[in-house]
Amino acid sequence: MIFIILQIIFLISLAPLVSGIITKIKNNLRLRRGQSVWQPYYNLAKLFSKDEVCSEHSSWVFKITPFIVFASSLLALFLVPAFIAKSPAQYLGDLLLLVFIFSLGRFFLALAGLDTGSSFGGMGSSREMFISSFAEPAIVMAFFAVSFNFGTTNLAATCGPGALKFSSLIAGIALLIVTLAETSRIPIDNQETHLELTMIHEAMALEYSGPSLALIELASYLKQIVFFTLISATVYPVVFCAQITPIQALTGIIIYLAKISFIAVLIAFTEVFLAKMRLFRAVDFLYFSFVLALLALIAATLGA
């Protein structure tokens, strides 16, 4: 139990750093010095200490949304196995529950986008729902493929004696593509620009400021680390599941950090070397991830 709480606290504090690292790598690849990897923490601290401006056209939906988005991301964090897989969250739900939890946060964020009455928000909501609708089948298919290897959608499916299977690898790649969409990364969306016409996620949150914006940003860091953790657990399952000693926990943490950094590097390279796609090309991109996930499933049924 104590390990679990430590794990969640550790993941929350790690989440902004992952974004910081990705930005740093991207900047270095472009031969720039770039901001410090700790910048996301400074940003959060700054935003939490600021006053807030709230649109006069908006309603209570706009006000409660940051909390719901944050709560749903944090709940997802309860579910993923990072370096210890045995968790009380096992009795809470399974892999498929993750899909529904994220859709809770997204639903409210999209409503908040519409609530302020500006066209940017509406545009963001519409596009976000559009992209995520097409991402969902791929996620479910990938989860199926992973779970097939273990015969259950229980979270234990992502934990076990290192099952480096072909199907898990393909499913992991499919999930990686979905992650690009879900964490608003380059071929689908762009976190860096605030040009209204290209942004999806940023457009929805455009009217937020101060602590509310901080919560939404923190929620998206959490969502990102949840997806990274999932991919890492899919491709290379968590090693220690049963009763663990502190030494094992430490080893688990080191392995976990290595996996996460690898994914972060991968994402940074993708972002630098790919151009942003037109909105409707993104659908094809997500179809591709669906096909990959289907392939993973077929491989899993064959036992590969």
Binding site: F120, P211, L297
Partner: protein
């Protein structure tokens, strides 16, 4: 000869019937409470009385449909239900649309009834009785080909009422035209009686003959899901949108039932019980949230006098309670935790997973594809309800009527919150509800239930030995609530003040409702992505003052309904064409008619001589 007068009315009160009686009464209660306020001021007292008599008779007829023990009485109640609902659809007689919607409904429902009658007569040929038990006993003697025929007839017959694709076309016409409390009954409950028919007659009485029955239902179900939700996304009339969502949700219900049929044939009894219970679970959930959404749509309609979403906006400030109730319904139908829609959709995915794991290779892939298409449906449904709620209730009012809207009356609010309350109850109480439903489906399938383990506040499915799957909705709700509470308190205590200011509008001087995103704009990406199916087209009209100056510009965008265009239109054209052709033998000359009679008599005499 048919033994018409010997038929005594006997009731069959097995768990399945009880379940449907409960569902009907639950929605009827809410709808009845709601109707008091809803009809007030809309119609004269005389008309209201007429409405209530029809309403009561409609409910009684539905109760008869799900409880009678005799195929003949079933048909009579079925027909009574169809006719009474027809009169309720055309209740608003001043509206010409009601009449034409009523006719479409009447024609479609009778085509369905014709198929049901045909299948009953075939079964009667073997059983010699209309009693359910006798038919069930006789069904073992029906040859395979005839059995398949009966299955297809029953599927078309009940499918028309349920609104499966491509027999769904009457739903978006009939449901919106009825008064809203009737729409909630029709969409929430009446179409479910067709599901009752499918379970009762196909699974319970006829018995599953071959594997393709279940697979066919699964394919139809998944197509209904997708077609329903895609059309719903394109729809900007609130009630029509909800009607299309009924098509989608019937699909989800049928996914459970179809999977159950596959499992029955494969002798996976436990899974069959599980799948059927999941289907029933989604059935009652859909009854609750769709009933709720139609009631809310009715309140909006009553307050603004229109169903066009593009004329709404900002209603959350004028009608806060209605908005809250609608939000509950929207969250439930979008399968968001911890409400009821989420539980049944999660369970449906789980059925497909366990199913895919248990069946052999080809079916595995099919089941997994069904599951991922269900996920796509879920995503699209969530988008659709972001649109429905966001455009209707949020931001600024887009028309004068929306600006002057007032909150619904007390009885309407009671009706809405009664159902909203049940979306929560059926979500948090999933374990208890599911236990009861498992008993219901067990009685239908007479299977065993031993390996499915339950505990009270979280339920566990254990299909393979040792592989447990858990879902605890109360715990999820609790954790969400705790996180919400803690963050809200922290933010409230430790952060600065909140200032109200206008929305950022790129420095443009004033933000008006015309700057808002519209429902059409919201659904545009979907319209393009599904363009191959929707075949959207535009109409533009320019009124020019001179070559250089356009005075007004009219822009319309429509989608083609391929089912009407490519299936129903050709059939109608063929019917009218052949009628026109046959009319030629009726020129109106009496001599010719006498000649016809003479020819007929001669032909008959010849025939009698031959046989």
């Amino acid at each position: 000869m048919l033994n018409l007068f010997n038929t005594s009315i006997a009731f069959l009160l097995d768990p399945l019937s009880f379940f449907f009686v409960f569902t009907i009464l639950l929605i009827s209660l809410a709808s009845a409470i709601y109707s008091v306020g809803y009809l007030q001021g809309e119609y004269s007292l005389r008309k209201r009385l007429y409405g209530w008599v029809l309403f009561a008779a409609f409910i009684v007829s539905m109760l008869f449909v799900v409880t009678v023990n005799n195929a003949l009485i079933f048909l009579i109640s079925w027909e009574a239900m169809s006719l009474l609902s027809y009169f309720l659809v055309i209740f608003d007689q001043k509206n010409e649309k009601s009449i034409s919607a009523g006719i479409i409904y009447l024609v479609m429902t009778h085509i369905g009834t014709a198929f049901i009658i045909a299948s009953f007569l075939i079964m009667y040929k073997y059983s010699g009785s209309f009693d359910f038990a006798a038919i069930k006993a006789a069904c073992q003697n029906i040859p395979v080909f005839t059995k398949n025929l009966v299955f297809i007839f029953l599927l078309i017959g009940f499918g028309t009422k349920a609104g499966i694709v491509p027999l769904h076309i009457w739903l978006p016409y009939a449901h919106p035209q009825a008064p809203s409390h009737i729409s909630s009954l029709m969409s929430g409950v009446m179409i479910k009686t067709a599901i009752y028919g499918i379970i009762r007659f196909i699974i319970f009485i006829l018995g599953i003959e071959s594997l393709w029955w279940g697979n066919l239902i699964l394919i139809i179900a998944i197509i209904s899901c997708l077609v329903g939700v895609i059309y719903a996304l394109m729809e900007h009339d609130l009630k029509k949108l909800l009607a299309y969502h009924s098509v989608e949700n019937i699909g989800i219900i049928l996914l459970g039932i179809g999977a159950s049929m596959v499992f029955i044939k494969l002798k996976l009894t436990v899974l069959a019980v599980l799948a059927l219970s999941v289907g029933l679970y989604h059935l009652i959930n859909h009854a609750i949230f769709k009933g709720l959404l139609f009631l809310c749509a009715g309140s909006v309609y009553k307050a603004t006098g229109t169903g066009d979403m593009e004329k709404f906006g900002g209603l959350i400030k004028k009608m806060p309670q209605t908005a809250l109730a609608f939000l509950f319904g929207a969250m439930a139908i979008s399968a968001l935790p911890p409400l009821n829609g989420f539980v049944s959709e999660w369970l449906t995915l789980q059925v497909f997973f366990i199913g895919a794991f248990s069946v052999s290779s080809g079916l595995k892939i099919f089941f997994a594809i069904c599951a991922s298409l269900l996920a796509l449906t879920g995503g699209l449904a969530a988008s659709c309800f972001v649109k429905a709620f966001g455009i209707t209730f949020l931001a600024m009012p887009r028309s004068a009527k929306a600006k002057e809207a007032v909150e619904a009356g007390l009885s309407m609010k009671i009706g809405m919150f009664f159902l909203a309350f049940f979306t929560v109850v059926f979500g948090l109480g999933a374990a208890v509800v599911f236990k009861i439903l498992a008993k219901v489906s067990q009685s239908v399938l007479a299977g065993e239930l031993a390996p499915i383990n339950f505990s009270l506040n979280n339920f566990t499915i254990n299909i393979q030995e040792g592989n447990f799957v858990y879902l605890s909705v109360p715990q999820i709700a609790l954790i969400l609530a705790i996180i919400l509470l803690i963050t809200a308190t922290l933010i409230y205590l430790f952060t600065g003040k909140v200032k109200k200011y206008g929305t950022w509008n790129c420095g443009y001087y004033k933000l008006t409702p015309r700057n808002e995103y519209t429902a059409t704009a919201f659904s545009k990406p979907f319209r393009i992505a599904f363009g191959f199916f929707l075949k959207p087209y535009r109409k533009t009209e320019k009124l020019r003052e001179s070559f250089y100056h356009v005075k007004t510009f009219k822009y319309e965008t429509h989608t083609t309904s391929i089912f009407q265009e490519y299936i129903y239109k050709p059939i109608l054209a063929f019917t009218f064409g052949s009628a026109r052709f046959i009319r030629k033998i009726q020129p109106g000359s009496i001599h010719l008619y006498i000649a016809y009679i003479f020819a007929t008599i001669v032909a008959l005499i010849v025939l009698i001589k031959i046989f």
